[in-house]
Structure formats: C-alpha cells, structure tokens
Symmetry: C2
C-alpha cells in the first residue's frame, strides 16, 4: 500500500494525459502549505489561516484529497524513540532485466522506509531503519544479497538528519516559476527546521563514524557534475 508509481496515482485524470485533474491555484497551495505543517488542523482553523470561508475550505480540502494532491495524512514519528536508532542508505545496482523482481522483494522488507530509482553509478537507493548496526548487516547480506536482481550494494550510515521538510511546495520559492532567482517568501509558514542534535548512534553503535575525508576535487564553478546513468538507462540529464 505504499507503492508509488510514476504517474503518481491518477484518479481524476484521463488515460494518456498525465496530470491536471485539478487546477491548483494559489489558495490550494496555501492550503497545502498549512496542512503539511499541521496535518491535524481543523478545517475551520485552516480556513481562517488561509483567509477563506469555512465552506470553501471544506470544498477545497475534499477536492485536494479526491484529486490525489494530498495523498494521505501521516504522523512523523521519532524513530529513535520508537526503537529504531540506526538509519542507513543502501545503494543498489540492479540487473537490468530484473527490476520487477527487485521491486517485489522490496515490498517484503518492512525496514525499508524509502526507495528511489536513480541515475548515476547505482540504480536505486533505499533507506532503512533498524535497531542496530548488526541488523543493517543482516539486511544487506542475508536479504538483499539473496535477491538475484541485486548485483552489488554499497552501504552508508546516516549520522544525523539535519533537516526534513514535510513536503516541498512551489510556493516556497515564491511565484511558481522555473529556475530563476527566488523572491522573498510570501506567507510561507516556513517549516520549522527539524531540531538537530539527533545522533544516529547514541548507543555507541554508530558504525564506522567520522568522515574526515575529502576527495580533493574542488568543484569547478559553473560545471555541474552529473553522474551518468548506469547501463542503458538514462536520458534525464542533459539540459545543463
């Protein structure tokens, strides 16, 4: 039930046409802005905060949900408090003919919180949350490695999560536009920055810590270093 798909789950859209089942105006975005920071706000309070009538707020609220612009409401849980103190990223190289199998296996792994298919050196990145480092090891060697679709993995620990915004919205950038200079934030109730100081290894099990290293290569200004796609799947990174 946590599956996602490229088209982001259409409901009101016609086949063959990705996208707009509902034209989102500034008010819609404002609603989303409030809702992403306080998913439990009452519609009445929401209306007041957005500056519209309650009935209007109800209508739009329902429309956003029915349209799929709001996918669901969720509680952000402190995973450390919940007993999952270790977070790791596993970069996976997948045999290109076995994507389906790979995805199917992923669904069987409850410790996986997020998985994205990427360009670059690897094919996918998965984020896992577990109780201890040993569990990461078990996950990688016992489970991932046993999937034929998995050709190679590379694991990295997360030492701290500096920032997590509920969901980025275009309004954060001012008038929804492309790449140009962002004007000042309007009424963007800027996301309260996630508190720092949450280490991934309070139990001392932080694994290979430290990142003293430097790869040396200075960034060549004006030149962005895109990593090419691995083996026959790419096509997203020109336009630079």
């Amino acid at each position: 039930m946590t599956e996602m798909s490229r088209n982001s789950g259409q409901e009101g859209g016609q086949p063959g046409r990705i996208g707009i089942g509902l034209e989102l105006d500034a008010t819609h975005l404002k609603i989303l802005e409030v809702l992403r920071e306080n998913g439990r706000i009452s519609v009445a309070a929401l209306a007041e905060r957005v500056g519209i009538s309650r009935a209007n707020a109800y209508t739009r609220f329902e429309a956003l949900r029915a349209d799929g612009a709001i996918k669901r409401f969720t509680a952000e849980i402190d995973h450390v408090r919940a007993g999952l103190g270790i977070t790791a990223l596993i970069f996976v190289t997948v045999r290109q003919q076995m994507w389906r199998q790979f995805r199917a296996q992923l669904a069987q792994m409850p410790e996986v919180e997020y998985c994205a298919i990427t360009t670059g050196q690897h094919d996918a990145m998965i984020q896992v949350r577990v109780t201890d480092v040993a569990a990461v090891h078990a996950m990688v060697t016992d489970r991932l490695a046993n999937i034929p679709a998995v050709k190679a993995t590379e694991t990295v620990f997360i030492l701290d999560e500096v920032l997590r915004r509920p969901y980025v919205l275009p309004s954060d950038r001012g008038p929804a536009r492309s790449s140009r200079r962002p004007p000042a934030d309007p009424a963007a109730g800027s996301a309260k920055s996630t508190g720092p100081a949450r280490s991934a290894g309070p139990s001392g099990a932080a694994g290979p810590a430290g990142s003293a290293g430097s790869t040396g290569a200075e960034v060549p200004l004006g030149m962005m270093r895109f990593v090419g796609a691995a083996e026959g799947r790419a096509q997203l990174q020109q336009d630079v």
Copy 2:
C-alpha cells in the same frame, strides 16, 4: 483545538539525560501504527481501532506528543501535482570546519526537502524538489557552489520513487527475526470521505499484533562492504 501548539520539546526528561521519558509499550506502538497511516483519525476512532477506551487514548495520545515520539502531523503531498516534477539527490562534500555554515545555508534553501549527514565518500546527502532540470543546475552551480563550506558535489536524478512508508516502526518486523513475510497492511481508511472528514473508518480489523521486535543481533559483521570516509569510490562491483 487541533493546533500543534504543544511544545514538542522535552517534558518528562531529566536534565542531562536525553532519553526515554516515556516507556513505549505495545499499545503505544499500535497507536503510532494507526497514526502514521491516518494522521487525521479522531481519537475516538483511534481508541476503537487500538482497543482501548477513549479516555485512555487521549492520555496516551497526548503523552506521545508531549514526549516527542510523535514529532508532528503532516500531509503527504503529490509533488508532481503540486508542480515539482523533478527530484534530485545531491551528495555534498563539506569542509570539515564549516559545518555550521553549511547547515545555516541549507535552511535558506526551500527546495531542499531532506538532508542527512552520512558516512562514506560524501558527507551529506540532500534531496531537492524543483520544477525542472534547469532548476537543479541552478541550485547546484549558483547556490551550493557559492557556499564556501561546500567542497564538491555530485548530483543524481530520481527517476521513480518506488516506495515510501510513512515511518518504519519496530512492530513492522514482528516478534522474531524476519523472514519473508508480507506486512499484511490493514488498509488504512485513507479513502475518500466516508462521512466526517476526520473519520478513519470504523473498527477496522486490528492490525498485526506485532510486538516490539528485535532483529537477530548475533550476526557477525563480516563481508558487508561499508564505505569508509574518503576512500575512493573506485571499487563498485562486488558480489556480496
């Protein structure tokens, strides 16, 4: 009063010791389980679904929030629908004396949805959502590259987000070590409005009564390939 005005800071914690202000029992986890899939469920419905009284549910609900186990409630938004069709990961190498500056600059970038400090070749990974590919380029070259703290970057595009779970919980893993077992998701009442906007569907089947689980901790750290700091990324191929 559904405002999130409650302070999410410590309340039950003693000074000098960050840690368990609240012992989470199976009921607490069950509450979290429901809440992460339907953050707008009413406490009454939550109580029914968890199998406790309404008063008890209110008490625990507030305790979880005050304790910080629940950090906040948020709406998951379809970023494509919202106008942000491009997602990218930027791996950043940071000059080690300038972390503070780096973090400060991050807060100024609204397109950043997530940032984690990692072990491995790079020091941080940031996830950005923008309208188009050019915006990624602008972001990396105009903004990131201008931060003195940033020594180098590496960018990768996300082609598809295969799965995102609201938040992983220990109960997902069941009591014992995991094998291959589907989590048996008891479909959340996230469907369309079935009555009041905050309802979650009455008395769904109780979820899997998983208890606090621990993954087998006696796995010897062996052949897993942890990426150390600053080691070159030369070797990529390795069958685990």
